[in-house]
């Protein structure tokens, strides 16, 4: 097991290294020049421009800049923002809290409501199951930006039940403020999780081992818990993991719609203003989050299913 985790961590680090190269390189493929934004409407002397190029290492060869940047990142220096004229790290700090809370809240909603309704849909009678399924068909078809504007106009502006924007103060107030964004964020992915959970559990419930468990006269709770849920959890864990990565990306849109001062909002702004340092740092952060999520899902699968352990060649 420790060996398996070590290998997975190394793979994750390799992924990060490659993506850092891509992130760093991609920005230079995009049209436009950071210098033009730095200069703005001002007319600068050649010396001043040269000094700026020097300051931002714009004259060094690409690879040299990448290595230098990577070294800085590893030592905790994410560079400076051109537009905010501040350390990227201190820009990220407070925004990270908002985004983390948003995603954590969304994840809880997906696990509790998504997986929960999936279980209900899988095990309940036909009629209820069909109602839930019909709801998810609509849910998966609604993109988060549409959900966001609809929710704002109905529940914030129309009914006035929820605030339309801002992150709120204090934990409970924050949760209250984040409720609409979380609904917008989880509508599609939550519906998807419901459908996958239902399908996975239906499949498990039809297996011979469940029939064998029924034939043994085991209590219904034992059959559901130990034979259907336990075995159907592997695909559900995978999908929830993948959903989490899509939440991280989806938060960009939702934060913008609800004027939440989070990482996503900062990213869109930084892209618009060609603030290289910020874009690079956020992309790297998002990819790190995805790599960590994938790692956790892999480990969970190994814990859940001994057959996966066998395939991976891990001693129990």
């Amino acid at each position: 097991m420790p060996r398996f985790i070590a290998i997975r961590v190394l793979e994750g680090l390799a992924t990060l290294l490659v993506s850092s190269f891509l992130i760093f390189g991609a920005l230079y493929l995009a049209p436009g020049d950071p210098l033009s934004y730095l200069i703005g409407n001002r007319t600068l002397s050649d010396e001043a421009i040269a000094a700026l190029r020097e300051q931002y290492h714009l004259d060094d060869p690409f690879l040299v800049r990448w290595v230098a940047w990577l070294g800085d990142v590893l030592s905790g220096d994410l560079g400076r923002s051109i537009t905010y004229r501040d350390d990227v790290l201190s820009l990220l700090g407070p925004r990270l809290a908002t985004t983390t809370l948003l995603i954590a809240y969304a994840l809880v909603v997906i696990v509790v409501i998504g997986v929960g309704l999936g279980i209900v849909a899988a095990l309940s009678r036909r009629a209820l199951s069909d109602v839930i399924l019909a709801g998810t068909s609509i849910g998966v078809a609604i993109p988060s930006f549409v959900a966001a504007s609809t929710l704002i106009s109905v529940f914030a502006v129309g009914l006035g039940w929820f605030p339309a924007f801002g992150p709120g103060d204090g934990f409970l107030d924050r949760l209250y403020h984040l409720t609409l964004p979380v609904i917008a964020l989880t509508l599609a992915s939550g519906s998807y999780v419901i459908r996958v959970t239902r399908a996975a559990l239906r499949e498990e419930a039809a297996r011979d081992q469940v029939k064998a468990a029924v034939a043994r006269g085991l209590p219904r709770g034992t059959i559901i818990g130990r034979h259907i849920l336990r075995n159907g959890l592997t695909p559900v864990a995978t999908v929830v993991g993948l959903t989490l990565t899509s939440l991280i990306v989806g938060s960009v849109v939702v934060e913008r719609a609800f004027a939440l001062d989070g990482i996503g909002a900062l990213l869109t702004e930084a892209v618009a203003k060609k603030d290289f340092g910020v874009v690079q740092a956020i992309c790297l952060l998002l990819i790190t989050a995805v790599v960590i999520v994938v790692l956790i899902v892999d480990v969970i699968q190994v814990v859940i299913d001994p057959r996966v352990r066998e395939r991976q060649g891990i001693a129990a």
Binding site: D208, Q209, A212, A215, R216, G217, T222
Partner: protein, 305 residues
């Protein structure tokens, strides 16, 4: 001999999505304690349906009539709680594929002890001690170690022994073995059959043994029920299977297994006339005349499956 299981005039109709299919058409048989009753017949003849009906494992939509009495009690009238107790205390079931009937994500020990822990509320340690003893009884070496392993780490034959041990763990009185040896290779088949026989004799179980293997049925069972299209066409003592069978279907089944000593230029085939004869010939060896007339009646309806 008092009978443990008495099935009388059992009719089961299943909905296959388009129409109702008569899967069992007036089946009557009995199983006594310490007796192995073999069910043979082609696929779809209703062998498994009969066993599933006894365990009440048919789909909820199935239409069932007739009577199933276990130790004098009416199995078809059981409510949920009685049914669960009947299954957990009186029944042991062994299915065809041990890989499919054992939960792959928990250890063999969890599987074998599950009945004891969950339905008899036996403490874990005691259940494991009992399981170890049972694995020894069905001929598994190093039982303690096997209990800690996962199903995929055991061979098919060994896993089927563990399934039998699990079925025996709750001291059932009726064992239903639905093609318990079919998925195994020939030497394992003989071993599993021997274990079932020892359990039946030693514990006074009544056992229903479904198989396609006529030789195995003849060697293992006490009595044999031959099924064809939802009916028992012939019941006879196992030693009379080769030589004493009378029903044309039984004879055709036996002919379809040529002896290895004789040279046969062609295997016998079954013609439409043969099939007609299988359906119209009166059932052989049933104790009560009712069954024979019931089968004739349905045969004249034709189309019964």
């Amino acid at each position: 001999m008092t009978e443990l299981l008495e099935v009388e005039d059992l009719v089961v109709e299943l909905f296959d999505g388009a129409e109702w299919v008569r899967a069992l058409d007036g089946v009557s048989f009995t199983v006594a304690p310490g007796e192995i009753v073999g069910f043979i017949g082609e696929s779809g003849s209703g062998k498994s349906t009969a066993v599933n009906a006894v365990a009440r494992l048919l789909p909820a939509s199935a239409r069932v009539s007739g009577s199933i009495r276990f130790d004098g009690r009416d199995v078809l009238a059981f409510r949920q709680r009685e049914l669960a107790r009947f299954r957990s205390e009186e029944l042991g079931m062994v299915f065809q594929d041990p890989r499919a009937s054992v939960n792959p994500v928990t250890t063999v020990g969890e599987y074998v002890t599950e009945g004891l822990r969950k339905t008899k509320r036996m403490p874990r340690a005691a259940a494991y001690a009992r399981a170890e003893q049972l694995l020894g009884e069905v001929g598994i070496a190093e039982p303690a170690q096997r209990l800690a392993e996962y199903p995929h780490q055991l061979s098919g034959g060994m896993l089927q022994r563990a399934v039998i041990a699990a079925a025996l763990s709750t001291d059932p009185r009726l064992m239903l073995a639905d093609e318990a040896t079919t998925a195994l290779d020939v030497t394992r088949q003989a071993e599993i059959a021997a274990i079932l026989r020892a359990a039946t004799r030693g514990r006074g179980l009544g056992t229903i043994f479904i198989t396609h293997d006529l030789e195995l049925a003849g060697a293992l069972c006490d009595r044999i029920c031959v099924m064809y299209r939802g009916r028992i066409v012939e019941q006879l003592p196992a030693e009379e299977l080769h030589g004493g069978a009378k029903h044309p279907y039984t004879l055709a089944l036996l002919r379809s297994r040529p002896s290895i000593e004789e040279r046969m230029p062609r295997l016998p085939t079954i013609t439409a006339a043969d099939r007609e004869a299988f359906l119209t010939a009166p059932a052989v060896g049933a104790d009560d005349a009712g069954e024979a007339s019931a089968s004739e009646a349905s045969a004249s309806e034709g189309g019964a499956r």
